[in-house]
Subunit: 727 residues, 2 copies
């Protein structure tokens, strides 16, 4: 890539960004779009455009995003979003701190070298001299100027330690503050018990759990809820919900046709066969009503069977005090430590019920198998895709789907197809990958959604670092390189050192593209806007359907964080070799921070709250990126025949020590709730309604309308087995 | 070593063993020796020779040792001894199970090979054909007979898994049973709190601890005892004890001279100067009395200063219920997880007070530094010793200590000196090593004696495995081999495979020597017997001094277990290559088990009780030995060009899986007390005297006679600082 095409690419991205920003400024003020640009505010019952009419400034959102306090963010989008913002601002701080020293020092040091080094040291593959002058590749081998770059590594490292330490402390306090707030948190009174051993014959699991915990926690045990196999009940419940929706829709259609007085005022019908296209035609409203009448008693019957006979080897146990629950969740209960394993209960909304009864060793085996699959996917994913690409050619399309022949043979369409058809497999694969990784993570037997998101995020991070970062730098010969690395581990340093500089300009463009196009789309929400308008126009009949069409998602940490991590890794790795990348990194995280604040305040609605459990995961990957950076720069400075390069080894060691100290100082408080924090939240509140907490954990498909009248029904059905077995 | 010298060496050892056994049979029945052969029974107030006079059978001790139940062992020597016996019998069971299959199968398979392989494959370095015929080296390369050896590895592996699993379960139950017995265990009501953060100004640490725990455990907190810096008080206390002993001795001497009516009936005197040889001569009794009169008030003053002003950042916190203490010891207290760290309190008698206030990161740094020192000691210990040996020659002796010239010049003495003088440094080093390793382990900041013993045992195990096992097998070129291993890790398999067979006969002799001579000395207790008789005759004047002269030690696990471990490693590694070693191993552990039972019942008195905490440490090293065995046999079978050798890899993997499953199933219950176990012990007992538990933890040097009358004195002095600071 030569300099002019680099500038062109930057300029194009910037123009697209500007257009998207203007579109945003215009679109967001139209009231009909409020549900797309302010869904979070609407759902919280606030006026979406509050105080906005007064100002016509299209950049008012920036002022609002900047001026919002952390408490506002937490109120709007939860602690997780606040922690994500801390992450963005920390990385921003690291890059700004690095930039204000590295840019004014290293650029002149590199640019003022008079004699050009031999062309083989050129930093980019084409001739790209203008930027090349500003990189370390421009400094002569063995020159004392390399001291500046070596010290630059130390400066970046210490800036990272300083910022990360402060950020970790801040997040730790955020977490502690949030968990000791006024609100009653259901999960604070519960623990999750798994790996319950087989019961003695004639004893129900419920009975066993109750007697066990009543014995070990005589004064604080409240109640237990045994996890049941809800597959059947879930199915019936989903069917009922489906018919309810269908009924509402049919009624809305019928009402519409009646009120508009159109001639076709007949009752809506549908067919029972395949996809509603074939089979007997029935009156939808009658049919749904009839089905519902059948299914509701069926559900009730299934519910009582489930509660009585489908008890599984896991339970949620409730305590009448937070302190007791927090202690119990951290204490070994059984002498056989792989039975009766306990942990703090996740929120009810993020429980993955199907995973709870999975056995201890089953979980271990699943995790190992899945890590094997992920490894194979990360390393060899190109093989099946290349294979499929061989088939998805224009020739094969004509051959196997002969009816497309006429369309395909048109020159314009043919050109486009020839360009994109072979990539199709790759595009589809990359689009499905996050979902696939999330599916794999859930298969590990992880009990909560937030934990599954962390696991999926980790896997996705491996994938993109390996395939984008290493793939681009080391190039096509990745598998060969891998072989070298396995046989001679010490060569990875040299390999990174030689390969990194060549890809500097590629990554400059990559980062710029990511923030201009990526953030432009994110802020303007063009895609959700178009989808919503299409849905509302052609599909939605009832109020509920419209609401569903604009329902905002959450931040999607599982895919968002790995991409941010990739950018950090790239920017850190080039920070000393080609410091010009730092401003791009600053732009990425600066803009990212601003837009994420806007989205947190106005758009996204969290699906769950993990109180910053994601932070240690993010922090550890920043440290990992820092170590990759130190090692590769060590390799690169070493290659430039600088005898003092080994002076970088203490920096690498200190990164490991820093990671260790952080872990010891903070980490466990993210896994368990410290008693200090529990006590801090205790005195302030009244004693909560324990029955309400218990009820909140009942899975949707087992909720019976009758329970509203008689709160003990669930309890009764649940423990009926005890009575039936003992009499 | 040829065959005849091998047999001679065995025969000699056996004769020595027989002589020692006969000596034991004769000596143990003389009443004057009872304190040497039955000290444990005497200390427990039992008749040493109970029921023995009836039988004159010199082997009665064997019947007694075999017929004693595990409960007897626990009553006599504690759970730790019982667990050590389980360890011995488990290894015995592994070897017996291996032997009954491997001996009748592998020996004929090897011996019936007709063609001799080339002499380079010979199993021992000299010609040693008789034994060589019975080893794997005798089987032709690539012969299908190697299947028998390969399957032999699997048999040994599965025998080990089976025995270890049963043993682990047994030990786990032993531990649970002992901790839930009738006896009140002081440490069950206490936890050890370390890393207490700096206090707010004007607040004493005691005050801070009490308010912190009263807040977090409002209903169960009883009292706290802050650790103090007792160095000064300890010194004065030791001085007082010294004078007390001296006084008792002088009085005994004086009484003796008076009653015997000997002419020199004058009062005993001593000199105050260097070693009691120079300086002013004083009347001992008067001098001691005077000193005691001075020191006792000084101690009292120091005690109150210590309690008030020398509080340290650690404390022992007492709870009024076991369940509360067990929960508290497993729960994170502070949001900063490296402060207020908690653990179950060790027994008062095994607390290492000086280590308790050591800070979290200080402990980590100390541990790293000490592991560095141990690594250097293990790998390079020969360097300083060779250096010192260069000086300790007969020539130098004559040169620097010229007065020895005449003695040294006598031919007989000269020969002996020339033989042993160069070894002197090595002998002294090896004698001091266990003490040195124990000292190092304590420097790590470990809070209890039993834990320090485990740490020292681990270090000693590294030392002997590296220097004896690897040193002998791989030979002098150890450092070179090490370099090879670091550069090409996969070559260790080949290296072990080639080197092991050469040393087979050396290790046969080594094991035989260890059990004939080692156990002969152990059982006959010749050395303690001689020392005791010399001391009683020439040194002891008072009853207390005699008692001190025969006071039995404990098992000394820190040095005993690593040696057993070395034998296991050796026997397992040769079990398939040269199965003839198995009977030797069976002898070692069979005899060891018998003698250890005898010593547990009659001799050794435990210094502390850790309820089998040593077991996971021993078990893990057996697994490690098994893996070394599997890997080296894999290398050896591979070298014999057997294409199915890789079939051994699943065996290696299954060892890792077995270790993992054991760890998950049992290990945590050895670190923390499961609530189940605590509850099992609770109902049975009355509420204990909490004040007595608290008092038991007061360090000796801070006990004041006045406390007997007024139990609150300690408490008062301890918290006086609170009052002095608040008013």
């Amino acid at each position: 890539m030569d300099f002019s095409s680099f500038v062109t690419s930057l300029a194009t991205s910037f123009v697209v960004f500007l257009v998207l920003m203007l579109a945003f400024a215009w679109l967001q003020r139209r009231p009909g779009n409020a549900v797309i640009y302010y869904p979070s505010r609407i759902l919280r019952g606030l006026d979406p455009l509050e105080g906005r009419k007064a100002t016509r400034n299209p950049f008012a959102w920036i002022r609002e995003a900047v001026s919002a306090s952390e408490a506002d963010i937490i109120a709007a989008a939860g602690v997780d979003a606040a922690v994500y913002l801390v992450f963005l601002s920390s990385v921003l701080a690291i890059l700004v701190l690095s930039g204000i020293v590295l840019l004014p020092v290293l650029l002149p040091v590199a640019a003022t070298v008079l004699t050009r080094p031999s062309s083989s040291d050129s930093n980019s593959e084409g001739g790209f001299e203008n930027l090349d002058k500003l990189t370390m590749g421009h400094v002569n081998k063995g020159s004392p100027r390399l001291w500046a770059f070596l010290l630059g590594v130390y400066w970046v490292s210490f800036a990272t330690y300083y910022v990360l330490w402060k950020a970790y402390r801040h997040v730790s306090n955020l977490r502690a503050g949030a968990t000791s707030s006024e609100e009653v948190r259901l999960e604070e009174f519960a623990i999750l018990v798994r790996d319950i051993p087989a019961t003695a014959s004639g004893q129900s699991i419920k009975d066993q759990v109750e007697s066990y915990f009543r014995l070990l926690h005589p004064e604080t045990f409240y109640k237990s809820m045994v996890v049941t196999d809800n597959k059947e009940a879930d199915k019936i419940w989903a069917e009922i919900e489906g018919y309810k929706k269908k009924l509402a829709r049919a009624e809305a259609v019928y009402a519409e046709t009646k009120t508009t007085g159109k001639p076709n005022g007949r009752r809506p019908t549908n067919r029972l066969g395949f996809l509603g296209l074939a089979g007997e035609e029935v009156d939808t409203i009658e049919h749904c009503n009839q089905k519902l009448k059948e299914l509701v008693p069926k559900l009730e019957a299934e519910q009582s069977i489930t509660l009585r006979e489908k008890q599984q080897q896991a339970a949620i146990v409730f305590f009448n005090s937070k302190l007791a629950a927090a202690s119990a969740a951290q204490t070994i209960h059984s002498q056989k430590v792989d039975t009766w394993t306990v942990m703090e209960a996740p929120e009810p909304r993020q429980l993955i019920w199907a995973n709870l009864p999975k056995k201890f060793y089953e979980r271990q085996i699943r995790a190992s198998v899945i890590y094997g699959i992920v490894f194979l996917t990360v390393v060899f994913y190109m093989i099946p895709i290349t294979f499929v690409s061989g088939f998805t050619t224009v020739e094969n399309l004509k051959k196997y789907l002969s009816f497309t022949k006429k369309i395909v043979d048109q020159p314009a369409i043919k050109t486009v197809l020839e360009a994109y058809l072979p990539q199709l497999a790759l595009i589809i694969f990359l689009a499905l990958l996050p979902g696939f990784l999330m599916f794999l993570s859930k298969q590990e037997g992880i009990p909560s959604e937030s934990h599954a998101a962390r696991a999926a995020s980790g896997k996705y991070f491996y994938f993109i670092v390996f395939n984008v970062f290493l793939g681009v730098t080391i190039g096509g010969a990745l598998i060969d390189s891998l072989k070298t690395i396995v046989n001679h581990p010490s060569e990875i340093v040299t390999l990174l050192g030689t390969s990194l500089p060549k890809s500097a300009t590629f990554f400059l463009t990559f980062v710029a593209l990511k923030f201009f196009i990526g953030y432009g789309l994110e802020l303007s929400r063009i895609v959700p806007l178009i989808i919503f308008h299409i849905k509302r126009r052609f599909l939605c009949k009832t109020e509920a359907e419209v609401r569903e069409a604009w329902a905002p998602g959450d931040f999607g940490y599982a895919t968002r964080i790995p991409i941010d991590m990739l950018i950090i890794t790239i920017v850190l790795c080039y920070s000393v070799i080609a410091p010009i990348i730092i401003p791009f990194g600053v732009m990425y995280f600066g803009l990212g921070w601003l837009i994420a604040r806007n989205q947190a305040l106005k758009v996204y609605v969290p699906r769950y709250e993990s109180y910053g459990r994601m932070w240690p995961h993010m922090y550890l990957r920043i440290i990992a990126a820092l170590i990759v950076y130190q090692v590769s720069t060590f390799g690169y400075i070493g290659l430039r025949k600088f005898v003092y390069a080994p002076l970088l080894i203490p920096a690498i060691v200190s990164s490991f020590i820093f990671a260790y100290v952080c872990r010891k100082h903070f980490y466990l408080a993210f896994v368990h709730t410290p008693l200090e924090v529990v006590v801090a939240s205790q005195g302030k509140k009244e004693i909560p309604n324990m029955e309400a907490i218990y009820t909140a954990y009942i899975p949707q498909c087992l909720i019976n309308d009758k329970f509203v009248e008689d709160g003990d029904m669930f309890e009764d059905a649940h423990s009926q087995s005890l009575r039936t077995t003992s009499f």
